[in-house]
């Protein structure tokens, strides 16, 4: 851009609109990168957790999920080490605060649920546990799907809103279990309990995080 004093009013308006739009696009791409990397890391993590559970025949590897926020943070720090940082903007701050809030809810809920469910298993009967146990995966998936859709609304990317809704519907309406139930024999389906809910988390990471992230990243 060169200095041009012959600027018309239309061109001035064009420059202002263009730069504000560029700022939104920068936030959009940054969010895309974040979603894409989070999705990939989540998919990898669910494979690791499922494999460890299968090998040890105990659901002990689920505790690894608590290290997950730290893993994502480290991966993002490594990927962004040479990138020009996207500055703080109203849109960026809104997206960031939405995710911080939702992730805090998810983390607090998960911690409380683990303690609560442990108490239920030790001190209560299976019937009480069935009624009063806290379900971590469906709740966390719902929260994250809502976060994806809100991000889409803030960034004015309708595809992101639909991806959030789609991932929520696939996992919460039992479509995935229905398909697996049809494809697998009852014995094979029963064996899945060892890797559950890693299969759900893997699918959510693919549909709700990685794919929309990739789309945002690739936009021009």
């Amino acid at each position: 851009m060169e200095e041009n004093m012959e600027l018309t009013a239309e061109r001035s308006l064009e420059i202002i609109t263009e730069q504000i739009e560029k700022s939104r696009q920068a936030v959009s791409k940054d969010t895309g990168q974040w979603l894409f990397v989070s999705g990939l890391t989540t998919m990898l993590m669910s494979v690791i957790v499922a494999s460890v559970n299968l090998l040890t025949r105990m659901p002990i590897a689920h505790l690894l999920w608590f290290a997950f926020p730290l893993i994502i943070w480290l991966v993002m720090k490594y990927i962004n080490r040479n990138r020009v940082p996207v500055p703080e903007s109203l849109v960026g701050t809104l997206v960031k605060k939405t995710w911080y809030t939702i992730l805090t809810f998810a983390l607090v809920y998960s911690v409380v649920a683990v303690v609560w469910n442990r108490y239920m298993v030790v001190y209560e009967s299976p019937d009480v546990y069935l009624c009063a146990g806290m379900h971590i995966t469906p709740t966390v998936v719902t929260l994250l799907a809502v976060a994806v859709s809100i991000t889409g609304l803030i960034l004015k990317k309708s595809s992101l809103v639909w991806f959030g809704l789609l991932s929520f519907m696939i996992l919460r309406c039992g479509f995935f279990s229905l398909i697996l139930g049809r494809l697998l024999s009852p014995t094979e389906f029963g064996k899945l309990s060892l890797i559950r809910p890693c299969d759900y988390i893997f699918l959510f990471a693919l549909v709700g995080l990685m794919l929309p992230g990739w789309m945002l990243k690739k936009q021009k």
Binding site: M5, L13, V86, S89
Partner: protein, 99 residues
């Protein structure tokens, strides 16, 4: 209808682009502004100095690790000037639309 005069400091492509970026983003690093405006480092530096001398933006030179980092932030004077520029611009566009 009398035209509002357009601030000559803002009525230049690159300076206007920088101000528009800083209106959207609270604070931006020099490489980011360079990337978004597509300007050369030298030209951008000159225009940033002009905006800074007018008190429209605040330039802070810090370090990020061992690398120098130039941060630009719009001031309240800059925000007012930008608002006045947009208001004046509206007048020109309204007249043109009526024609």
């Amino acid at each position: 209808m009398a035209f509002q005069p357009l601030d000559p400091l803002l009525h230049a492509e690159l300076r206007l682009a920088v101000m528009s970026l800083l209106i959207a983003d609270e604070e931006a690093e020099f490489p980011y502004i360079k990337e978004q405006t597509g300007a050369t480092a030298g030209n951008l530096s000159v225009q940033i100095d002009k905006l800074s001398a007018a008190g429209y933006i605040k330039v802070k030179k810090t370090f990020k690790g061992k690398r120098p980092c130039t941060l630009c932030r719009i001031t309240s004077k800059g925000q007012k000037a930008f608002t006045a520029y947009v208001e004046a611009l509206k007048g020109y566009l309204e007249i043109k639309n009526k024609d």
